[in-house]
Symmetry: C2
DNA sequence: GATGCAATTGCAACCCGTTTGCATCTAATT
DNA sequence: AATTAGATGCAAACGGGTTGCAATTGCATC
């Protein structure tokens, strides 16, 4: 713990700042590998464990979702959260702008005495081109 | 391919039959490890790769979902599909009986020209005991 | 019931996304 | 400039899942 009034002991490093920037610029949740490659463009010496450790360090502002391919995706919490239609044939991903659950969470929460903090929703099927 | 009229070349083995029975008796989606241990009670020589290979062989009647803990859960498709409220503190799992998406899938499908085959929904938060 | 053969299994090695120990570096405070 | 706790790079380890291979078994055919 620090002796002063700082809320956190987190330091501002070039790796961490670039990671946040990459996530801000992202149009969809990114894998650790994707973040790693984008950060590496600017900071060639970065390693992937730095990405993972920052996902943990920044977990208060990041939402993590493990897809069915076994890889986690990371996105900034403040970014408008979207869900995806994922094509099982061509793996194309179509973002859904409006979260279909928003309207339902209140009821769900009350009926089950459960404080809902986050949720994970992906929809799988065949896209227009693959039917 | 077989020469006769069989729809599939799948054999009925004691391992496979027991795996299906375990899934039928399950009250919630099970991990490969959980299935393995339950099958092992009756067939001590079974190995976990047999479980995984059967999850693949039986994929037409099984739905697989990878949770945020990185482990996949397996359930029979024909079983009433449920979703879970998962407590982030005590990992308790509360099943939701009615799928909140059913009502929305039709619209979603039409608006995006996407044939929806399955979906994955988990909700994370704090349960009554952990708030 | 014996034969033939492809599907299945057990076993061990492997894969790959993620985590961790440790020495070094660096941001931030004094 | 000195101090020091947090952050990084690197390499090794972890763990859920996969795979090559030889032996076994279900099942169709005789
Ligand atoms: Mn949502
Ligand atoms: Mn559903
Ligand atoms: Zn497609
Ligand atoms: Zn709880």
């Amino acid at each position: 713990m620090s002796k002063n009034q700082n809320v956190s002991d987190y330091k501002s490093t070039k790796q961490r700042n670039k990671i946040i920037q990459v996530l801000q610029d992202a149009k969809r949740p990114l894998t650790a590998e994707e973040i790693y490659l984008l950060v590496k463009d600017e900071l060639p010496s970065v390693v992937i464990s730095t990405i993972y450790r920052n996902m943990e360090a920044l977990k208060n502002i990041i939402v993590k979702t493990v897809y069915n391919d076994g890889k986690a995706r990371y996105a900034l919490t403040k970014e408008k959260h979207t869900h995806n239609l994922i094509c099982l044939k061509c793996t194309k991903i179509i973002a859904i702008e409006k979260c279909p659950l928003e309207a339902l969470e209140k009821n769900l929460s009350e009926q089950n005495s459960f404080e809902i903090l986050e949720h994970k929703l992906e929809i799988y099927g065949h896209c227009k081109d693959c039917r």
